[in-house]
């Protein structure tokens, strides 16, 4: 982590705004909330925040209108405006207010016009459709004059309802939403007991709703009824169903006349409407150009006021926060710029404070290291100044991944894909895709790049390329000598399917294959057995190395935080324990590789049995080296001694110290300060070993008295608690040495699975075409290739890649980081405009 400083800022009321704005541009200061007990709405600058909210609301309204009217997203030219000064805020408010009012007026005008138009259009349809209703009646009954008799005859002809002697029929015509027609019809029937007659027909063209702008399908209906009572009832039902009713003249001539009138009025309205729309577009296209800029300005103002709300406001505005110690000069500069901008003379005062508060953790990253830091942070943010595993992860992560994913063909594809992303990163980043999965891939492009690169390397070592071996240098196995020594003739070669090669005769001892595994193993029947032994041992070696490295890192943590007790009581026994058992196993692996060759490989002892025998104090039939028995006994004794060492030393030491400290403190109130200063060394240790004070070593002596009293009162020494903690740690560590080593065997298992899967894919799919000796084979290969390539990408690259990634992640989080990493810190979240704007732009 960067070293952080607690800073206190005294800002003048006049210049505070400008200063905070500059800090926002700088993005290196984290403000602490000094008014934690004050409600959000009781803070000083809440009114300004509210005004910003109001401005944002207006902007959203304008934006929505832009989208609706222009059918286009307002362009974003990525401009980054300066934070507007408070005086400019008024201007902005005025502009938005004016725009909003103007838009509202235009909108309401437009709405009325649309409504009128809708009504007229509906009326037009009614007139046209009812015409057909009436015409049908005419056809059946011949022409009649007068509406009364017309409707009467119509009804009596088609719907023999009502009383023949009371020819007073009325009708209501209207328009209703199509979906509601069936229910409407049923309701009419029920409510009027079948005494009405309804005809309805659909309007073919959908109509536009004036308020929402949606298209709705509607129906024209006409209801005939008899008597006033029914009329009111029908009217009420129509109202209930939100049907619009229109007056419809009785005679045909009147209807025609009305229809003509309606047509001309629709035309008039259309002209006015298009003018209004033009006006609206003009207003909107002007504001659409600026809307992103305005949004950013308002966001900035709001962020500044939010930050000011965190400050303690008295005669001056007092803010406290964290900033990286190295950048404190830039903070000073920013404050000076802010003061100049606001035009006041009194400069802002920035003091470094001494504090016991634990600073936040801040890791500076670049685009390359960012992904790796994210992997570590996902497990837990590092404690302040704790050693950060990310730099090591940078290499170990892709490497362990590649051990599992080793295949230079697949690695190349992965590498090229990542290379493409890296090559085009500016373009892709500018697109701001919202696809989550794609963004995960893109953000991890440098991880994928290295993973691909390392996979090519391990693939070459495994000599594995799409499950086939590359015979670049020529195999070191040769049959030339075999003819004589093993009695093999050309005839045997032709008739037997397999031949057992004895390395004694067939391996060219002069020069083994120069890089990785000899390609001949690819066609050997015992390939898996051979590779298993190799990869398994490799896994153990890599695993133990990484774990020992982890334990060594814990040493650097202990020394940095000045915890000598931890070094003696934790680090040393841990390292001894790990080396005595697992380290020894690694030594044995190398020894076995070195001392057995093809001559005597048959009598080589099993390492597993050797290790078990070591615990059982058994004598080995064939020792790997002279004095193995003595060495093993010694190592075992060391390992056993380490257990109580880890378990008891720390609690007992702490207990003794506590007792001594209490003794010296009793009755020494007058000389307390001096005693305390003398016992400072001890105190620091106690505090640290309780894992409480991280920054104690930086403390000035003046603080000590108060702090000490606090410590003694606040954290009374609890032997049982320390003991339980210690025993948990001990048990966990001892068990984990075994289980974590076993866990590293996943390197072998996944590597095996990957190789086998790609081989199966080759044999089951691509080989179908390749084995054919006719021309048809080329066609089959052509077709089968698609399947093979697809399966390779989906299963081997994506699925296998993900699973290998996951296992690598686990190996780092659990097996590696558990040896030294606490991860209880808090991330540094500076007040930064770019972060605020980025997060709200999405």
């Amino acid at each position: 982590s960067e070293e952080m400083s607690r800073i206190q800022m005294f800002l003048q009321h006049d210049s505070a705004y400008a200063c905070v704005a500059e800090f926002g541009e700088l993005g290196l200061v984290e403000f602490s909330d000094l008014n934690e007990n004050v409600n959000e709405f009781q803070r000083k600058y809440i009114n300004e925040v509210r005004r910003c909210d109001e401005m944002e609301r207006k902007l959203r309204y304008i934006e929505k209108e832009c989208r609706k009217a222009l059918n286009a997203v307002p362009p974003d030219n990525g401009e980054n405006p300066d934070t507007p000064m408070p005086s400019e805020m008024f201007n902005l408010e005025l502009t938005f207010e004016k725009l909003e009012n103007e838009l509202k007026e235009v909108n309401s005008n437009k709405e009325t016009l649309m409504k009128n138009k809708l009504e007229l259009t509906e009326l037009k349809h009614i007139l046209r459709k009812t015409q057909t209703f009436f015409d049908e009646a005419h056809l059946t009954l011949g022409s009649t004059t007068g509406s009364e008799s017309s409707s009467t005859s119509l009804l009596s002809a088609e719907a023999p309802v009502g009383d023949q002697h009371a020819p007073k029929f009325g009708f209501i015509a209207g328009v209703i939403v199509r979906e509601r027609v069936p229910s409407f019809e049923r309701m009419l029937w029920r409510a009027c007991r079948g005494n009405v007659f309804l005809r309805q027909t659909e309007i073919e063209t959908p109509l536009e709703d004036p308020v929402t702008g949606d298209e709705v399908n509607k129906c024209v209906f006409i209801i005939f009824f008899q008597g006033e009572q029914l009329k009111t009832k029908v009217r009420k039902i129509c109202e209930g169903y939100k049907a619009t009713m229109y007056p419809c003249p009785d005679t045909q001539a009147e209807r025609r006349e009305m229809s003509m009138g309606v047509m001309t009025r629709i035309e008039d309205i259309q002209t006015v409407l298009s003018q209004t729309e033009e006006h609206q577009t003009r207003i909107l296209s002007n504001s659409a150009r600026n809307i992103r800029l305005w949004f950013r300005k308002v966001k900035k103002i709001k962020a500044v006021y939010h930050t000011l709300n965190l400050c303690n406001i008295q005669k001056a505005i007092i803010a406290e926060g964290w900033c990286p110690s190295a950048d404190i000069d830039r903070v000073h500069l920013a404050a000076r710029r802010g003061t100049e901008r606001s035009g006041t003379d009194i400069p802002a005062i920035i003091n470094k404070m001494d504090t016991r508060k634990i600073p936040p953790t801040y890791h500076k990253t670049n685009k390359f290291t960012h992904g790796y830091q994210a992997i570590v942070d996902a497990y837990g943010i590092a404690d302040y100044l704790e050693i950060n595993p990310a730099p090591f992860t940078l290499i170990t992560f892709p490497f362990l991944f590649a051990v599992m994913f080793g295949d230079c063909g697949h690695g190349t594809i992965m590498f090229l894909f990542a290379l493409w992303m890296v090559w085009n990163e500016k373009k892709i980043a500018a697109e701001k895709s919202t696809n989550e999965i794609w963004m995960i891939l893109f953000n991890g492009r440098y991880i994928i790049l290295l993973m691909g690169l390392f996979s090519i390397y391990t693939g070459l070592l495994y000599n594995d390329c799409f499950s086939k071996s590359l015979n670049i240098f020529g195999s070191s196995w040769s049959l030339a000598d075999t003819y004589t020594t093993m009695d093999i003739t050309n005839n045997t070669l032709a008739t037997t399917a397999t031949i057992q090669l004895n390395p004694k005769y067939t391996f060219d001892t002069g020069s083994p294959y120069p890089l990785g595994i000899d390609p001949i193993w690819n066609i050997a029947q015992n390939q898996i057995v051979f590779l298993n032994s190799y990869k398994m041992k490799l896994s153990v070696i890599l695993g133990v190395t990484q774990m020992i490295f982890g334990v060594l890192l814990s040493f650097s943590n202990h020394t940095y935080f000045k915890r000598p007790l931890n070094v003696i009581s934790e680090f040393v026994p841990q390292l001894l324990f790990l080396c005595a058992i697992m380290g020894y196993l690694v030594v044995m692996i190398f020894t076995k590789w070195l001392i057995f060759d093809s001559e005597d490989s048959a009598i080589a002892p099993s390492l597993l049995i050797t290790l078990i025998d070591m615990f059982l104090f058994k004598t080995h039939i064939l020792p790997l080296f002279s004095g193995q028995q003595v060495v093993e006994t010694l190592l075992l004794i060391v390992a056993v001694v380490c257990v109580p060492w880890m378990l008891l030393m720390k609690p007992l030491t702490l207990w003794m110290r506590n007792k001594n400290l209490l003794k010296t403190n009793q009755g020494l109130t007058v000389r307390n300060v001096r005693t305390v200063i003398h016992s400072r060394e001890e105190r620091v240790n106690i505090v640290d070993e309780d894992e409480l004070g991280v920054g104690t070593s930086d403390d000035v002596d003046g603080d000590i008295k108060g702090d000490l009293d606090e410590e003694v009162e606040d954290a009374p020494f609890e032997m049982s608690e320390v003991m339980i903690l210690s025993s948990i740690h001990t048990i966990e560590y001892c068990l984990s040495c075994i289980s974590h080593t076993a866990s590293y065997l996943r390197l072998w298992a996944l590597s095996l699975a990957h190789a086998e899967l790609s081989e199966v894919l080759w044999n089951m799919v691509l080989r179908i075409g390749l084995v054919s000796s006719t021309y048809a084979g080329s066609v089959i290969t052509f077709m089968v290739f698609v399947g093979w390539a697809g399966a390779t990408i989906i299963i081997l690259l994506i699925m296998e890649g993900l699973s290998a990634f996951l296992h690598t992640l686990r190996l780092h989080w659990v097996e590696f980081q558990s040896k030294f990493y606490h991860g209880d810190g808090r991330a540094f979240t500076p007040f930064s405009f770019s972060v605020i704007l980025d997060s709200s732009d999405d």
């Binding site: 709405f41 809440i46 925040v49 609301r57 959203r60 309701m187 409510a191 039902i237 109202e239 169903y241």
Partner: protein, 352 residues
């Protein structure tokens, strides 16, 4: 009930929704939120605080100045949206269960509209006041009817409430008294039916829901009795309105039917430990909590408890009820704030 309702198989159909509701429930305002809300000086303050809760930006697009009715609408809207989301993703039998929850709102809407038309209000004025969860297609045609029989034949017959209405057919005309009778009869039948449905579902759902519904039934019986004093409702008619699925049934209800004043009701409640406590804590003196508030508090407690069990539908009901209570609380506080009448501002019923 069949598979899919118990233990491990519950999640096949309902796991997502249960998870969702539990998530929603975590957004319910806490005591701290209320303490902050009570300190608000204006509705704008209230808005600022609500923004920091799960309600988020629900008021962000409202131009000022804020009115209580706008807050009410928006609060309710949020619940309705959540409920509709749940309903749209549910499968049987949960969807029927959720429909049952909406029936009570339908009853309220019908009664609201009838009372409104009785007072010569137009439907277009009344319709926006109806609860959105209880809306149904035929609702707004209520203006066209004038007798209970017509109400049944034209409107209710097509709704799920038809079965509940049969007891009201005999009511002669629509006056205030009869509307109350119709409302309570509908409610009684609704509660009994819902109770039967929940016992039919069996399992934990039955355990949880029957307890809540039994309390609801008893509460209605008690409130009906207390409110009927001094009205022309006869004792027999009153007895017919008591939902018979609560703990009071049958002895308690019989005793309630005979009661003539508040003390007698109280005497009935004394036989039931959980109700006795409620009556003891209630009073009409300033500073005391009213019986109604006590009953609400008990309801809230039951609803909160239903979240303690898993794999049942009760949480859906409880969530809606708790959220209703929360809306009532926020509206109460906003009214007090808006009218600058702060003496009774603390009379809300906190949920946690």
């Amino acid at each position: 009930m069949g598979s899919g309702m118990s233990g491990p198989t519950f999640n096949i159909d309902n796991g997502y929704l249960e998870g969702l509701v539990r998530g929603f429930k975590n957004g319910i305002l806490t005591k701290n939120d209320y303490l902050n809300l009570v300190q608000c000086e204006t509705l704008e303050d209230l808005k600022v605080h609500l923004q920091s809760t799960d309600y988020g930006t629900f008021l962000a697009n409202e131009p000022g100045p804020l009115a209580v009715s706008v807050i009410d609408d928006k609060l309710r809207n949020k619940l309705v949206l959540e409920f509709q989301h749940l309903r749209n993703h549910s499968v049987e039998p949960l969807s029927t269960f959720l429909d049952y929850i909406t029936y009570s709102y339908m009853i309220d809407n019908i009664v609201l509209l009838i009372t409104g038309t009785l007072h010569q209000r137009s439907i277009s004025e009344l319709a926006p006041k109806c609860h959105p969860l209880g809306k149904f297609e035929q609702m707004e045609a209520i203006g066209a009817i004038s007798t209970p029989a017509e109400l049944y034949n034209t409107i209710i017959v097509d709704t799920p409430l038809a079965a509940f209405f049969l007891d009201c057919i005999f009511v002669q005309d629509l006056d205030e008294m009869n509307i109350e009778i119709i409302r309570n009869t509908l409610y009684k039948n609704y509660l009994e039916d819902f109770h039967a449905f929940c016992s039919g579902l069996g399992g934990i759902t039955a355990d949880v829901m029957c307890e809540i519904l039994a309390f609801e039934a008893d509460r209605r019986a008690i409130i009906i009795t207390i409110n009927s004093f001094g009205t022309e409702l006869t004792k027999d008619d009153r007895a017919k309105l008591f939902p018979r699925c609560g703990r009071l049934h049958p002895e308690g209800l019989a005793a309630l039917a005979r009661a003539v004043d508040y003390d007698q009701v109280r005497a009935v409640a004394d036989y039931y430990a959980e109700y006795k406590v409620l009556f003891e804590g209630a009073g009409n003196n300033p500073g005391d909590k009213t019986l109604e508030d006590k009953l609400f508090e008990h309801e809230v407690k039951l609803n909160v408890n239903s979240f303690l069990q898993q794999f049942h539908f009760g949480i859906f009901y409880s969530y809606v009820k708790l959220k209703e209570q929360e809306v009532r609380n926020v509206i109460w506080i906003s009214e007090c704030v808006a009218q600058r009448h702060r003496t009774k501002i603390d009379n809300y019923i906190p949920i946690y």
